[in-house]
Subunit: 184 residues, 2 copies
């Protein structure tokens, strides 16, 4: 089983989300193993980050599947998406923070595939009249992930309760800050 490896990867996410440049010592300590064992599991920092990103993207992709965002009412699909993806908010925060430190074509490609699926969802919603058409679908997708990462950081640092995070994300993203919004 890869459970052992995955648990280490999840511990690494918790550290790298806050400190993208954390030393391998800290990551090993957070995972409860020694640096030697960490290096046996993942030969080198690049390999570790690569696999952490891979796991993160697999979880994200699985969340998109679980929310079956390609089907049904686009607005409800976004709500399902938020529900499915909130548990991985910390993971999303790691991805956005780390993407500026490491270049990995494979990870970038996987991210682009995922982003394309979400963008397609918003495009579908725009064509159905549910979403505003003045805002590019690509920007809606990017903003969604920006807010998701923001939720991840806020929860990680205790500024936002985990149980409120879904509500905070989906309500702000869908409805905005205005009490009664009448888009111009």
């Amino acid at each position: 089983m890869a459970t052992d490896r995955d648990s280490v990867l999840m511990a690494a996410v918790g550290v790298l989300c806050r400190q993208p440049t954390a030393a391998l010592d800290e990551i090993a300590r957070a995972a409860g193993i020694s640096r030697a064992t960490l290096h046996r599991l993942f030969p080198g920092r690049d390999a570790l980050v690569h696999e952490v990103a891979g796991l993160a993207l697999r979880r994200m992709s699985a969340a998109l599947d679980a929310a079956y965002i390609e089907q049904g009412d686009p607005v409800e699909a976004v709500r399902r998406l938020a529900d499915a993806v909130i548990p991985d908010a910390t993971t999303a925060a790691f991805l956005t923070g780390e993407s500026r430190l490491f270049e990995d074509s494979e990870v970038t490609a996987a991210w682009d595939r995922m982003d394309a699926r979400v963008t397609a969802l918003f495009l579908r919603g725009q064509q159905s009249g549910a979403f505003r058409v003045e805002l590019p679908a690509a920007w809606l997708s990017e903003a969604f992930f920006d807010l998701l990462a923001g939720v991840g950081w806020a929860v990680q640092e205790g500024r936002l309760a985990a149980r409120d995070s879904t509500h905070a994300l989906v309500e702000l993203f869908l409805g905005g800050a205005l009490r009664t919004s009448s888009p111009s």
Copy 2:
């Protein structure tokens, strides 16, 4: 004149926004000076980052002043704030990216003061009935800066046109993604 120093700092923002761990060589090259001169201007990396953050926060704070966010209709104040702060979107992206790499109590305190002003704006708007009360004012403030940083990254990497950035930020933040939003 501090123009010389400030131009170097702005060049540093452009690099550090993408690569928070960029070597001093790259920063010096981006600023068009040698590493020796960079070190004469700012003795050490910490001093450089400290001053970059200081400049960034001064610009932000000046934007809050210019938008006189403490006065007038809260919604219009947010629009003015977005207008005033969009030119420094890259700067905001740097701040959110770097804050997880360096600890600087002075910078953190200045950030907290600025965040408190924006939070007060949203609180005022909630009390006047303009903003939704189900979302904590602190979260509205954090989300605003998350989206601002997202705009900064998107513009920096060419995914969003600079002339559309104000519209993208303020419309999504205020009105959300829904075409006709009816907050529950």
